[in-house]
Amino acid sequence: MNPGAILAVTLFSLMISFGLTAAALATRGFWPNLAEELDTISLSNSLWRRFLVGFINALISFIIFAITTKHGALGLIGLIIFSIAIIFTFVGLVAEFCLWGRKILVLRDSPNSLFTQTITGGITLSIILLIPFAGQTIFFVVLFQSLGTTIYWLFQRKSLYKT
């Protein structure tokens, strides 16, 4: 790979990850209740279960998208389903960034704000994304987890308030 391509990939990765961090911060600011519910869901359900749910949903959404692209009108339905999956992933990232940030900041042994946690998580994942192949794999795992978190939130949000 030539240096230009490496630079392009690095810049693209940084743009994606920092953009997502900013989006996560904005979501947390504008919809604090949603963010809190997602935080609770991510803490309540195991990492692998969330990953599995996210992975299955992403796979099925992609298959539907691939099948529907053959047909004109039906392609729109596939596109909508796939777009919803992507939006759900971004929503779930709000909790995932915060979770990563919290786990890292616990090492500092000092209480921190949600802002610091989200930023720390975002920066950590951005740096991880720069590791060739392994970093991208970890980032994709986190994305699947995010989708899983949002799916869990859809089904479990009512039970969060039941005593």
Partner: protein
């Protein structure tokens, strides 16, 4: 974790009796809860004051006296019987879930298989072999089956086999149902009381 649970763990933390697992959870909660941070600080402050100003000396033979009293009281050691895991309600719930999942799977898979099979059956040759395709009142049941019903079936299957859109639509419906069923079944674990908002 809610503040009520955190308060119990804060006391354990101050007493140095907290489990490492709980300590991580507590620190996660403290990181986001200003109220509990203040509580921890005030408890730590109070603990320091007590440690430095009040010195408690146990009375001589106090341990022996307490042990003797505990041993004399037989009820101290009777533990509450634990509820068995497999109750009728639980078994019915599991069986019901399994039956519902199985029924859903059969329904979805069956509909998909029927659409696929129907599109593959070629009845045109069968129709061409039949002598009469006109319906009249004198024909027997077998004749009716051979003529009109086969005509009807062949028309439907030809329409289906010509259009891949219908097949794809069936596959998509199946996949969407599968997606929903898997997500629903996975997310049925209950949230711990401590984590409720």
């Amino acid at each position: 974790m809610n503040c009520e649970t955190a308060l119990v763990l804060i006391y354990d933390l101050v007493d140095g009796e907290i489990l490492p697992k709980d300590e991580i959870l507590l620190k996660e909660h403290l990181a986001i809860c200003q109220h509990c941070q203040t509580t921890l600080k005030s408890i730590e402050k109070a603990e320091k004051i007590y440690k430095h100003e009040i010195l408690v000396t146990p009375a001589p033979d106090s341990v022996n006296t307490i042990t003797k009293q505990v041993l004399e009281n037989k009820n101290v050691f009777s533990l509450q019987s634990k509820k068995p895991y497999w109750s009728t309600k639980r078994i019915v719930y599991y069986l019901g879930t399994m039956a519902a999942s199985f029924a859903a799977f059969i329904y979805l898979a069956g509909s998909l298989i029927i659409v696929n099979l129907a599109s593959k059956i070629d009845l045109t040759s069968a129709i061409s072999n039949t002598s009469s395709s006109n319906f009249n009142l004198d024909m027997s049941f077998s004749q009716f089956i051979e003529s009109d019903l086969l005509n009807l079936l062949s028309t439907i299957t030809n329409n289906i086999s010509q259009s891949t859109l219908l097949k794809d639509l069936a596959i998509i419906l199946f996949l969407v149902s599968l997606q929903f069923t898997i997500s629903y079944l996975f997310t049925q674990n209950k949230i711990k009381q401590d984590n409720k908002l």
